[in-house]
Each structure stands twice: as C-alpha cells, then as structure tokens.
C-alpha cells in the first residue's frame, strides 16, 4: 500500500490551508528509509517516531447473512512535527484516526485527532495495541486482533484472525514511490478473516469477510510533479493484488504492483506492468471521480472490470479523499478496496 504514504505526506501540505502551517515537506532531520530493508518484529509493528509519517491502515470487505456487501475502514495515522521533542503536551507526535463503514447506499465517516504525549493515542507492541480515544486495534499478538471504532452515526466491533503471513512490497519491504527514488517501508497482512457487528442507524448487522492491513512509514514528500494516486487492493480467486498508479502532471503515470499467491508468495512488478484506466465517472461531492475501472496486469493474465460498491464513498475528513469497497469481474472475480486522492 505504498501509495498511501502520499496521503500522509500530503496531509500537512493540504491541511496547511486549514492551519497546519509550519510543517515542512522536506525530510530535514527525520530518518529516511534505506535499502536493504531490515525488519524486527514485533518492535516494527509499533511506532517509529524518528520518521515523519506512519500508519496502520486496515480495510475489510464484508457480507451480512443475506449476502449484502459492506466495506469497513480503520486507520491510525501518526505524524511528527519535529524529529525530536518533549513529553506530555510538548510532544511533537500527532495522531489522526479515520473510521468508515460503507453500505451499497450509505457511507459513514468519522475522524479523530490526538496529541501524542498524553496517552490519548498511540501504539504498543507486546501485547499489540493501537488506539486513539475509544477506538482500538488490539490483541495478544498481530495475528489475533479485536477492532472497535464509533462515530455519531455508527460503531463496529470486529475480531480478526490472520490465516497467512505478513507480505513485503517492493524490494523486501523497501517500496519506491517515484522515478526520483522517494520510498517507504511497506508491508501488509492481507490474510485476515474478520467477523463482528456493525452498529448502523437501522440496527446491528452481523458480518463476516476478509481484511487487509497495511503498515507503512517514511519521511519523504511526493515528487513535485505527482498530483495524486489511485490505489487498489484486490482479493481474487487465486491470489491477491496490490497495485497503484501515481498520476503525474504531464499526464503520465508511475505504477507499481505486488502479486500475492494464496500461500503468501510475492512478486513485485516495476513501473508500467500494472495498468489502471478509468471507465466511468460519478459526480461525488461536486467532483468527477472515476468509480469504474479497467485494471490489467498482463504478465499474470489479469484483466478486470472494477466498480465501486457505493460511488459516494467520499471521506470528508481534514484531508478529503475517496476510499471504498469495490467489486471485481473479468478474468478473475473478487472484491477489494480502492483509494483515490488528488481529485480536488
């Protein structure tokens, strides 16, 4: 889920109009990802405060007992104002949570912000716990988690069990984001099964499905010529596919993808192998957003028609973007999640 680094790198920039002035977009003073990537678990499931940005990003495709599709998002972002700093209220660490539930008709979103030094939000690793306010993603270890969130209109309480191992994107977890070499550390757990209750305005709904957790951290901004991205995570009959395209201001794209077999073998694909083309647009919140796509990875014989479960999956948060569940037909069938930014 490399592309999401852009979201957080953009966060301070986009938000500066609303008051986040003073956060630079350079890496000055922060640590930067380096090759080869070496991970130490469970420590690396926890925060890396010397990097500017980091997230725990979980999306899930769900179905209720009648077969109705739902989508769910639970995200915790961390950003640091400065590479080092004080404790308590003086801590430079800030946290942001996004939670959403998508039904074929409705899309519920809520956001939380927290200061890092006072215990309102954070991540610990043994046992694992990531939280902001009353939202949490926690369990004895990274493979067995309970997840809760609530907003003014919805809440959920989910249990997750990992049926496979963590997978690494790019070069063993070192994920390049542009031709200029910007990169992040990036790994995923795409094999969670998930079960639990959605509390919606019309009542509680029991759902099951599968979930995909992304972990990523970095300090580097986007290339100056990159305007946004379209990111796909797909769970198909015979494997899983993560792919994104970064849109550049000259109309060209930088793409990247990872094919994950059902037993966890990964193949990384460099720029150009993965292709995604909009097929249809929806008017969402006054913007034209592509909600039907053709997605191809020719080397794997993948040629898919992808469309949004609910075209109105707009995230009206501090940094607005589109994120929602998708349904897949074509050479393979399946479900997945789509994130699109930069369609301002």
């Amino acid at each position: 889920m490399n592309v999401r680094i852009l979201l957080l790198l953009l966060w301070p920039v986009a938000a500066s109009a609303q008051g986040f002035a003073g956060l630079g977009t350079s890496t000055d003073g922060f640590a930067t990802p380096e090759r080869p990537a070496v991970f130490d678990f469970s420590v690396d499931h926890g925060p890396h405060p010397d990097y500017r940005i980091e997230w725990w990003y979980l999306t899930a495709n769900l179905q209720d007992d009648d077969g109705t599709h739902y989508g769910l998002q639970w995200t915790l972002f961390r950003t640091a104002l400065t590479p080092d700093g004080g404790d308590g209220w003086s801590s430079p660490q800030l946290w942001m949570g996004h939670a959403a539930v998508t039904t074929p008709i409705d899309h519920y979103v809520t956001e939380r912000l927290a200061r890092g030094g006072i215990g309102q939000a954070g991540v610990t690793t043994a046992p694992f716990e990531a939280w902001i306010d009353d939202w949490q993603l926690s369990g004895p270890d990274f493979d067995n988690l309970n997840m809760t969130a609530s907003g003014p209109e919805f809440a959920y309480d989910m249990d997750l069990i990992a049926l496979g191992d963590i997978v690494f994107h790019g070069d063993d977890g070192y994920s390049v984001k542009s031709a200029d070499g910007q990169a992040s550390y990036y790994y995923s757990q795409p094999f969670y099964t998930i079960e639990g209750m959605l509390t919606l305005p019309d009542g509680d709904v029991h759902v099951t499905g599968n979930a995909w957790l992304d972990r990523e951290w970095s300090s580097q901004p986007l290339s100056e010529n990159q305007t946004g991205w379209d990111w796909f995570s797909l769970s198909l009959d015979d494997g899983k596919l993560m792919g994104f395209r970064l849109r550049q201001d000259d109309g060209s794209y930088y793409t990247s993808a990872t094919w994950i077999t059902l037993d966890g073998e990964t193949t990384a694909y460099a720029d150009g192998a993965f292709q995604a083309e909009p097929q249809g647009y929806s008017n969402v919140n006054g913007r034209q957003i592509p909600t039907q796509w053709n997605v191809r990875l020719d080397e794997r014989g993948v040629d898919l028609d992808v469309y949004a479960l609910n075209p109105n999956s707009w995230m009206e948060t501090s940094v607005p973007y589109w994120e929602g569940p998708i349904l897949v037909e074509g050479s393979h069938t399946g479900v997945g999640y789509l994130e699109m930014t930069g369609y301002e």
Binding site: G88, W89, Q120, A155
Partner: protein
Amino acid sequence: MTKAGLQALLSHWLRNPMQLFTLIVGLSLATALWSGVQAVNAEARASYDAAAQTLGEGQLAQITSADGAIPQSDYIRLRRAGWLVSPVVEGRLDGARLIGLDPLTSPSGMAPMGVRDESLSTDVLIGGVLFATQETFDRLKDHDVTRIVTPDAAPNVIITDVGTAQRLLGLESTLSRLLVAPEQPVVQTPISEVTPTLTLRAPQDVSDVGRLTDSFHLNLTAFGLLSFAVGIFIVHGAIGLAFEQRRPVIRTLRALGFPLHRLIALIAIELLVLSLVAGVIGIGLGYIVAAALLPDVAATISGLYGESVSGTLQLRPEWWLSGLMIAVGGTCMAAAASLFQLARMPLLASARPRAWAMQSGKGRLYQAVLAVVLLILAVFLGAVGNGLAAGFGMLAALLIGAALALPVILDRILAFGASRARSVMAEWFWADTRQQLPGLSLALMALLLAMAANVGVSTMVSSFRLTFTGFLDQRLASEFYVYADDADQAAALQTYLTPRVDQVLPIQFANQNVRDLPSEIYGPTAHSTYRENWLFLQATSEAWAQIEAGEGAAINEQLARRADIAIGDEITLAGEPFPVLGIYGDYGNPIGQVIVTETAFNRLFPEIRPLRFGVRMDTANVPALADALRDDFGLEDANMVNQAGIKAFSLSVFDRTFTVTGALNVLTLAVAGFAILMSLLTLATMRLPQLAPVWAQGLTRAQLGRIEIIRAVLLALLTTVLALPLGLALAWTLLAVVNVEAFGWRLPMFLFPMDYARLAIFAVAAAVLAALWPARKLAKTRPSDLLKVFSNER
C-alpha cells in the same frame, strides 16, 4: 395611454408637494425608527457572538469537578471511554485571564478567527504562543513565549495551548474543566462509571455571560418589536391618505376609459418606488440614530456584563434589509386594502374624499369584537401559557388588542363628553372631535403604542436598576473583596487580614447537582452581614438563625422554580437532607444556588478550601489596605475588588442605559407626533366644509385654531392615560412572564410615577407641536378660501 395615466397620477404630487412630503417622511421615519433599533440590536448581537466565540463557552456542555481541578488522567479516561471532550486550563497570569485550549480536540468555533488560523502550527502546539489584544499584552510580564496580537480577542483574556497554560500557571497534569463536543459517538460509557467525581453540566450552566446579556438584549428586542408596530401604523396611515387624496384623479381617469387593472398596476409600481425611496432615506436616518446611540449601548453592555462590544457601527445586511422590508412590506400591507377597495369602487363613486366620514357602525363593531378577543387571549396566555412563545404571543395580543380598542374607547369617552356638554361650543367641540376620530385613529394608535412602549421599557429598565443595585448591596455587602490564587495563598491572606480588619468572611462553594439541577453550594460564615443584607423572597420566621444552627438551607429562586421546591421541602446535599428555610432572589445567575452554614459546608465538603474572602472594615481604610496588600503581601490588583467601586461603576452603567432608553423614548414619541401632524394636515383641507359654517355663524378663525390645539391635547391626554395601564401591563409581561420563561427568575416590578408624568408631558407636547402648524394654518386661512366652500360654482 399608460404614460398619460402616469402623468395624471404623478401630477397630483406635483400639485400637492406637501402630501408627497408627508408620505415620504412618514414612511422614512417609521423605517428609521425600526432600522435604528435594529441596527443597535444587530450590532450588539454580533458583539455577543464575537465575545462568546472568544471564550467559546456559550453553547457547550462542560464537565467540571467540585474543586475546580480535573486530573489530566481523568481527561484521557473519558476520551478512551468514547467521550469527545476537550481540555481547558484556566487561571490568572499577571492579572489577566489565561485560557489554555487543545486545538486538536476543541469543538469548532472555539477560539477567535485570528487564533484559529494559527492554532495548529508547530509553535502553538509545542513552542508556547499566547494570543491576546495588544492592550492585554502591555500589562503582561515576560514569560519567554511568543506573543501574537489578536485584535478580536476578548479584553484581558489570553488564549494559548493547554500545555503552555499548564506550564505558565504551574498546573502540571491538571485541567480546569472539559468542553463537551455537541456531537458524540453512539457508543459511550456513562460518565458516572468513568469518572464518578466529575459532573456534566448542560450547555447554559457555565455560560454566565451569554444568559445575562440576553436579558438586556430582550429589552432591545422588545423595543424593536414595538417600534415596528408603531412604524406599521404610520405607514398604513400615510398610504391610506395617499389613496384617499387621489380618488378624484382616479375617478376621472376611469371615466375617461383608463383600464382599471392598468391603473392598479401603475399605482402599485408608483407606491413600490416611493416606498423604496423612503426606505432608503429611513435606513440612512436609522443609521445616524444607531451611530449616535451605539457608543452608549456598547458601554452599557460591556459595563453590565463585562463583554466588549465594538463601539463602531457596521452596515449589516440583516438590519438594512429588514428596514427596506418594513418600508416595502408595510406599504404593500396598507396598499393591498386600498387597492382592493379601488378595484371594487363603482365608476361614479363620489370623488370627494370620504375616508374621514364616520366609520360605519358595523366596521367599528368588528373592530371592538376583535380587540376584546385579543385582550382575552392575552389574559388567557398570561394565566395558562407556558414558554417564551406564549410570553411574546401575550405581548402581541395585548398590544394589537389595545391598539384596536383605542378608537372605540375614545369614541365612547367623547360621546360621554358630548352628552354632558352644556354650552353650545362644548357640544360642538365634542361632536366635532368625535367626527375626526376615524381620521386620527391610526396616528393615535401609534401614539398609544409609542407611549406604552416607553412606559413599559422605562419601568423595566428602572426596575432592573433598583433590583440590581439592591442585589449588589446584598451580594457585595462587604466593603472589600480579595481572591487568592491557591489554597496556600488563601491561608496566608486570611492570616494577614484577620488582625487588620473587623471580620474576614471566607466565601467557599462546591458544585453539585440538587434534584438533578446543577447548583453551587455556598458555605458562608455565620455573621450579621448575611442576616442584615440577604433578603428572602419567602422564608420561615427564623430562617437565618436556623440556617446558622445548621438546621436547614436557603436556595435561590431559580432552583426553587425549576425544581419546584417550596419552603419546608427537603433537598439532599452530599447525601445529607436539609429542609429549605428560605428562598432568595439571585438575579442574573443562570444556575441553582444553595446556602448552608460554614460548619455544615465543611462537614459536607471537607476537601474544599475558600479562595475568596469578603472583608468587613471601615470603608475609608480600603485604599490603604489595598496598597498594603499589593506592596507588602504581593497580591495582584486583579485579585482585589473595592465594593464601592463596583457599585459606582454599576450605577454609571445604568445611567448610560437610561441615556439610550431616553433617546429612544424621545424618538418614538417624535415619530408618533409626526403621525399626528400628518393626519391633521391632511384633515385640514377636508375639514373646511365642516368649519366654514361655524365660522360664518360667528366664530373667529383664531378661535377655531385654538380649538384645534385643545382637541389635540385632549386626544393625546386621553391616549396617554389609556397607554399607562397598557405600558404597565407590557412591563409586567416582560418582567414577570417573558423574563421568567427566558431566564428563570422574575424581576420585581416597581412603579415610577414621576417618569410616567414626564412621559405624558412629552406625549402631550408632541401632540401640541404636531397640532401647532395645522392650527396656525387654520387661523390664517383667508376668508375667501372659507367662502369658497359656499360658492355656487363648486
């Protein structure tokens, strides 16, 4: 053809510029009065909003603790239990009020604009930045923080990040209170399970500012409504006259074959243009009025409530639009009836103006019945109505009912006068006055409402003043008040003061719910100060003695009303039952209050130590003690309050309130006076056929002129006398109904006969001034003009 018709209609104004003038001026004055009051209103309201935003406490629920300190861990516990609360740290820094907020969690709209723009910068969050006006900064010592001058910050208030506030105030890991966001998640653990020692207070509870200003604001709103009513009557009168005067032109045009619908359209357009012109002039006048009044209003509000209102006027769309609305809307309302009549008027109806002939008996009967129905409705609403809407409904029914009843009542009085007349002159005078009544009734209704509004508002403001100064005497019975910043300083202060003064009275209180209503529990020392100065609205015979013996409690009116507590009922304080022995007035306090004696208080709330002290001493020694406290003891000036100073200040504030009220009094009466002038001038030409025979039979023109003035005085006096009970009813409604519904306490009503007499003199003077010109004109009428009435060629 349209052009010819328009020319004919407009030529009337050219031939009669005086009528055009009165029409425009009447409309303009009505608009000016309305928009002037509205401008002051809108400006004051905008300033409240700004002030409320500066502190951001107006509309939010809050979580507080009994001792005013909340451990930071409780804040985290509440957040993790799903409560969207935001921390506030508050204290005094070099005498200024320092407020620390968390920009990430504070509900939107909390800080002033200038602060919000900067609030998420790295500097603000972790560096230490203060926001305040330059004036506030000028009094501040150096604290090694960045200062950002924010002109829209409230006076003497500094806004900063919560962490910075904790550091500057030395309050590590402690918060003062928590703001509760209006929108909360669906899943939450009850507060009582998370932090049992904390109390959730409903939005209005902490907002001592907003609710109090509302009370003054209500005065202005009431005045605005009344001025609207006065204005509508005047507009109605002016338009009605414009129609009547042009009946001959209209008849001629129709007789010449001008289509009726086009005629109506022409007149409608003409009136629209006239009303727009008059509206614009009126708004200009209103602006001048408001600009003249605003400095006083601003001073009144900031003095009364400590809120700052900018003393300059802005051209706010809400009031100039509403000004145009009254001009155009009032014209439409008035013109609709006249146009309807015109549409139904037979072609050959008399070209002679007949509006001022006796109103038909049937129409007057309807009017009387409607008036009675409205007055009964007012009484009904007053007796059984609930809520603010009922209060205002009662006001409306009362005023409209009274206005409609006025011509009927005056007619009866004049008929009675006529029946008692002995001399021929008296008989003619009564009969002629009665005949003129329909023509003058709109102007007299305006005078009635203006006078009633003045009586009502004067009574309300003066009652407010008496009550409030009495209340200050009661609450600020001590000569001198001091405030400590913390418990250690409080103890030192008490030790320092005790040998130097007559008596030190600790003031201590705890926040607690009484019958589920948020309340403050006070525990004053037993002392004659309270026995002598605290007056009960209701009490048992030995209330103070019993309370001092710990046998019971006294509560404020708000608590008694809201929880429906009567003398002898029991309330529970910290688990102990106390019978209620007295109920006292507590004006301006939005929440409940309970008084128990100091010993009982210390037993109930052992953890609370007083930080404030009342000091009984010789008034003359207060300045010396204040100097000593500052120089020897090191107490900040802001921590000392000289009671005499407060009282003098309060009185000066009320004096400014009176200036505003007085100016509005004169203005409304002037407008009503102009309505009378306008009516008399119009009547003057129509009255020549009525007056000429009297003159021919042996009265001089001078006599006729004098009689005109006497008539105006008589009508104004009668109207004034009728306005007095109406004004008192109005004041009573505002004080005893609307105020109770809006604020939970009833203002006692006092009567001010001298004020009423003065107002009556103003009203009569306005009527005399209005009658002077028409009377003089009549006295100077050339005999040949009078003789024209009889001329055969007419």
